[in-house]
Symmetry: C2
């Protein structure tokens, strides 16, 4: 897949995810809760995690309906984590994707509840009550729940956030920083790839290679995030730039320096490509290959 093919591939899938979120995140949930949930997840972001789910599923010619549900579920988990992360007791951020954050718009209590309900909704979306045979078989439903819950929980994203909190003002070595980011950001990105893979048939070798790919781009994403935090303006990022430094948080830039951080991101991109080659999926993995490049070369 080349750049000219990739752009319409992305647009079509972003639209499918947006349509599904529009359909499945209820505007009519009680007392404005649905509005806060929709504000937190609709019309925002590059939908990188959904794209990874769908690219991995398509590489294996997997179950498209299952992948769409997995894509929406992982985006709901990501979006809820941003809603909670922005709250005053965490990062206390007022700007996200160029808009006021959810707690600024709806109040802290509603933001906390909206995040909680978005997490629950992710698992609802994965376990639909199908009345016909067009649905996702229960064993796949359970597998997707298992992958998502583990990547979102104490051993994954939430655990990484706890390390992040505890690390403020502390010097971390590269191994500790890598461990934190593999959990905080990497786990959910890797799970996106594996949820997509679970929608198809894989050998243990292909599963492992896709897992390696997911781990590499998961960490690369955060290294680049750290780089962009110091090199880009808030307007480009759509969120507050320079906040890691302001919060005295250890980052790849503060630990390795800017040049070494950039080299590290490139090395991870190469690891991701090597893992794809090991999959032996050839051109079918084209979207995954371009996504690895985009993760490293993005500007926001």
């Amino acid at each position: 897949m080349n750049g000219a093919d990739f752009s319409p591939w992305v647009s079509a899938r972003q639209q499918a995810v947006e349509d599904a979120l529009e359909r499945w995140v209820p505007a009519d949930a009680p007392a404005g809760l649905g509005l806060a949930m929709r504000y937190g997840v609709l019309d925002g972001g590059k939908r990188l995690r959904p794209l990874l789910v769908m690219a991995a599923c398509e590489a294996l010619d997997g179950h498209a309906e299952a992948a769409l549900r997995a894509a929406v579920a992982v985006e709901l988990i990501h979006a809820y984590s941003l809603v909670h992360d922005d709250m005053p007791c965490m990062d206390n951020d007022v700007l996200r994707r160029g808009k006021p954050t959810v707690h600024v718009q709806f109040g802290e209590a509603q933001a906390m509840l909206a995040g909680d309900a978005m997490q629950a909704l992710a698992f609802e979306v994965l376990t639909p009550d199908f009345s016909n045979d067009a649905g996702v078989e229960p064993a796949l439903q359970a597998r997707l729940v298992s992958l998502l819950a583990r990547s979102a929980g104490h051993a994954g994203m939430a655990g990484g956030q706890a390390i992040d909190l505890a690390s403020i003002g502390h010097a971390l070595g590269e191994p500790a920083l890598s461990d934190m980011h593999r959990r905080k950001t990497g786990a959910l990105l890797q799970a996106s790839v594996l949820m997509g893979a679970a929608c198809g048939q894989t050998t243990p070798k292909v599963w492992q290679a896709l897992s390696d790919y997911g781990a590499a781009i998961g960490l690369a994403f955060q290294v680049v995030d750290d780089i962009l935090d110091v090199t880009q303006a808030s307007e480009t990022l759509g969120k507050t730039a320079g906040k890691d430094l302001d919060h005295n948080k250890p980052t790849y830039v503060s630990v390795l320096g800017l040049d070494a951080a950039r080299r590290h991101a490139d090395a991870l991109r190469e690891q991701a490509h090597a893992a794809l080659t090991a999959c032996g999926l050839g051109a079918r993995a084209g979207a995954l290959a371009v996504l690895a490049d985009k993760v490293v070369q993005r500007e926001n």
Copy 2:
């Protein structure tokens, strides 16, 4: 089942749930997160929801391992909701089960993360990766996730909490109050019964009757909660008494008056018993029958 049989029945199951929580809620989750999670869920409460799961499963001679996992999962959801509900942006409560609340003990950020990770853990516990045949079949795993996620999310518990927030200082009629409480408290109690039922074989008639039973005791629980809030001291409750009045929240007592609220609780208890009779399970539903009485007759 009489009172003398019930007490050892409860103790054995409370112990099994405590042991499972001890095993499955990880002390070693990163940066103290596991300690906050364990503080929020271990060694606390009557474990009513787990008892309902297990009583319903046993009434149908269902899958005991699945019911234990469902019991732990629903308790994790309940406990996370208390952790978040006690935070300053919600009820701002400092006392829970006679101990300082999680955010008082560990800070607000860790409390929010602990609650988030407890919710994820509930779905991890429901979808174990069994390597042998002793486990829970995937279709049952998916069914349990579906029931739990829907009762915890926007249409259930979180939706009820949003109504609760919005209702402060407003006069609600009995129908609106009932709708709020059916979601906020009732949905998870009803789901406990249905998760237990899903662990066994049911006819549509038995399923419906158990659903009616769960709805009745779910609402009865909250009516009694409202009564105890005005009639009991904080020491008896293990949490701050009189807080609904202090927070200017509508309750069954403020809407109906104390005597009518008590009559309402009794009527719901009778509905629960009638539903059990309709199940036709006879003595096998003994624990469910006693639990309906205990929900209404409890003193804390």
